[in-house]
């Protein structure tokens, strides 16, 4: 485990009477691709702006290599930002934009130019040095913004939804490239996004946020497969949330009673017995089966063709909607609308969360 580069310690941010961040604490390791993920208004951008220094914190500390940087103005913090709309200086050329930070740090023009060219090479933009930002495409502008923020070799690079202004195809290509650049430079990236797919594909670790609280921090796989609460389970990927009575909890395993009466053992983050819980069922871990072996029995209501998958919509006896994802290869044995269908829960399908 490498050292911690940024230590966010009980940071509070209030705007008037509204509290945007409630004692948020998290550590970001050196050389890590760390993502702040959450719906809009969850406080992720506010936290990023607190790290950059654009928002003064109302409480708590932000430590960079152990030193509290919360009282420092943005221009004294060795962190750089890639802005959502890039904020490239329109009256400067690409090269001047990238040299800007280095020159403010006191680099000579010759040295700054050399370093800026290296940074532009890293993002494959060496041929556009003399262009103005307005003459570049959105994707190229995004690379300039990245080069500009990387050139001064910050301790941490902050990225504020930098892909949201790009179209889908480009966004997917840039994801891999960003990840690669992060590995090459070895700089810790703090990436803000509301796009869970972006977060899952790029991050070493993700902090899921909502309402100014960090809900869970973990590797993408951990967040997806072992969500700690209902919000995380619902926000990351698709899931079916079903209220069930809990029979018992011991050693991280719960025993619940499924609708229809079958008992099921599944993992849970809870450690105390609760009367009622919410069962999260991942749609892709559910399969069709004969009624005799079924964990759940449903009535098929609709199917949606998704290319690689087919999404089966169904209803439990109580009227609750369920979604099942089947690989297209199994399409031959799809039930008719209105037919009774048996569902088998595969390993890892279910997880009990607090109601």
């Amino acid at each position: 485990m490498t050292g911690t580069v940024i230590n966010i310690d009980r940071v509070v941010k209030r705007f008037g009477t509204f509290t945007a961040l409630h004692e948020v604490s998290l550590d970001i390791a050196e050389n890590e691709f760390f993502t702040l993920l959450g719906p809009s208004g969850c406080g992720k951008t506010t936290l990023l702006r607190c790290i950059a220094g654009f928002e003064p914190v109302s409480g708590g500390q932000i430590r960079l290599h152990g030193e509290d940087i919360a009282p420092l103005p943005p221009f004294k913090r060795p962190v750089n930002t890639v802005f959502q709309h890039y904020a490239l200086f329109p009256h400067m050329t690409v090269l001047e934009n990238v040299m800007f930070g280095l020159q403010r740090l006191g680099w000579s023009v010759v040295d700054a130019e050399g370093r800026a060219k290296q940074a532009l090479e890293l993002v494959h933009l060496s041929q556009f040095l003399k262009r103005r930002p307005g003459q570049l495409s959105g994707g190229q502008q995004q690379r300039v913004a990245l080069a500009r923020a990387l050139a001064p070799e910050p301790k941490v690079l902050l990225l504020d939804e930098p892909l949201s202004a790009l179209d889908l195809k480009l966004r997917q290509a840039v994801r891999m490239e960003l990840k690669q650049i992060q590995r090459e430079t070895g700089i810790a990236f703090v990436f803000v996004t509301h796009d869970q797919e972006e977060a899952l594909t790029m991050s070493d670790r993700i902090a899921v946020m909502s309402d100014g609280h960090v809900q869970q921090i973990g590797a993408p796989r951990e967040i997806y497969e072992a969500p700690v609460n209902r919000f995380v389970a619902d926000f990351i990927g698709e899931t079916n949330l079903i209220e069930v009575p809990v029979l018992g909890i011991a050693d991280g395993m719960a025993e619940v009673s499924l609708p229809g009466g079958r008992a099921l053992r599944c993992p849970t983050p809870l450690n105390r017995a609760v009367g009622q819980g919410v069962l999260s069922l991942r749609p892709e871990r559910i399969d069709l089966c004969p009624a005799s072996e079924a964990d759940l029995t449903v009535i098929a209501t609709d199917q949606v063709y998704l290319g690689t998958d087919i999404q089966l919509k169904a209803q439990l006896a109580g009227g609750q909607e369920m979604t099942v994802r089947l690989q297209n290869a199994q399409a031959t044995r799809l039930p008719e609308r209105g037919a009774e269908v048996g569902l088998k829960l595969e390993a890892g399908a279910a997880r009990l969360l607090s109601a």
């Binding site: 950059a52 220094g53 654009f54 103005p73 943005p74 221009f75 004294k76 962190v79 750089n80 930002t81 802005f83 709309h85 904020a87 490239l88 200086f89 329109p90 009256h91 800007f100 930070g101 403010r104 740090l105 307005g134 500009r148 923020a149 001064p152």
Partner: protein, 270 residues
């Protein structure tokens, strides 16, 4: 829905024509008659540049040249000072966040546009008399700076609103101090607005008669007051030539101001 076509309204053409004639016919007459060879101001005696020659070499030319020089000096200085003040005001209004009395400040900056000019003129005269300033270039300059501020402010503030503050944030993120962020980023981006504001203030100052006439004191003339003084002794065609020249200068400056303001807008939307 079909778009409302104003041109199909009954009487549209007649009303438009009336407005255009009332507004511009006098200007047209003055401009045309400034090229009149005759000394009469009502009968046409053939085309000539005689009155333009008279403006620069005739018996009244020293008086008008002195007045023109005064006007120019005052307009340049008033334009510069008003632009500086207006720029500071725009920065405060658009970058200092919310502060107490922001609306009141905005109203105060723009009040001179609403106050009847004669009221400002009388008030300025009373003020200068009360504090013991005698009329002259100095009082004219002070008065001009004051009423030029809103004219300079409007294009500058408009330009500044179109510059998102993320540019300065990006600059500060890249180790620029607030002053460097202003000087290297915000100021260059505001420049079209500032220049446009200066030109507008300059031309407003150059053209002002009423306030100038109240505060100028004896013996000091600007071009408009000199023209007015000359007209009182009877309108000669040389006045028309001077007026036409001023009109030309005004048109050039206002057009420049508009073009510069527009070029800034075009850049923003690209």
């Amino acid at each position: 829905m079909k778009q409302l076509d104003l041109r199909r309204f009954p009487g549209f053409f007649a009303i438009t024509l009336l407005c255009v004639v009332v507004l511009y016919a006098p200007l047209l007459v003055v401009s045309v008659y400034s090229f009149n060879a005759s000394t009469s101001i009502t009968s046409w005696g053939g085309a000539s540049l005689a009155w333009y020659v008279d403006v620069f070499t005739g018996p009244e030319s020293p008086k008008f040249q002195r007045a023109a020089m005064n006007s120019l000096i005052i307009a340049v200085l008033a334009g510069i000072c008003a632009t500086l003040i207006a720029t500071s005001a725009a920065v405060a209004m658009h970058r200092a966040g919310r502060f107490r009395g922001k609306t009141a400040t905005f109203a105060l900056i723009n009040l001179p546009l609403m106050v009847p000019e004669v009221v400002t003129a009388v008030a300025s005269l009373i003020f200068f008399t009360a504090i013991g300033f005698s009329g002259g270039i100095g009082t004219i300059l002070l008065a001009h700076i004051t009423f030029c501020i809103p004219f300079a402010y409007l294009p500058i503030a408009a330009r500044m609103q179109s510059v998102p503050d993320s540019y300065e944030q990006a600059a500060m993120d890249l180790y620029a101090t607030p002053w460097e962020a202003f000087r290297l980023i915000l100021l260059p981006l505001m420049m079209p607005g500032i220049f446009s504001g200066f030109l507008l203030a300059f031309i407003i100052s150059l053209d002002d008669f009423l306030i100038t006439n109240f505060v100028k004191g004896a013996g000091v003339e600007t071009l408009p007051t000199a023209i007015f003084g000359a007209v009182k002794q009877g309108i000669k065609p040389n006045i028309m030539a001077i007026s036409t020249l001023m009109l030309a200068v005004s048109v050039v400056f206002v057009t420049l101001s508009w073009l510069i303001g527009r070029s800034g807008q075009a850049k923003k939307t690209e």
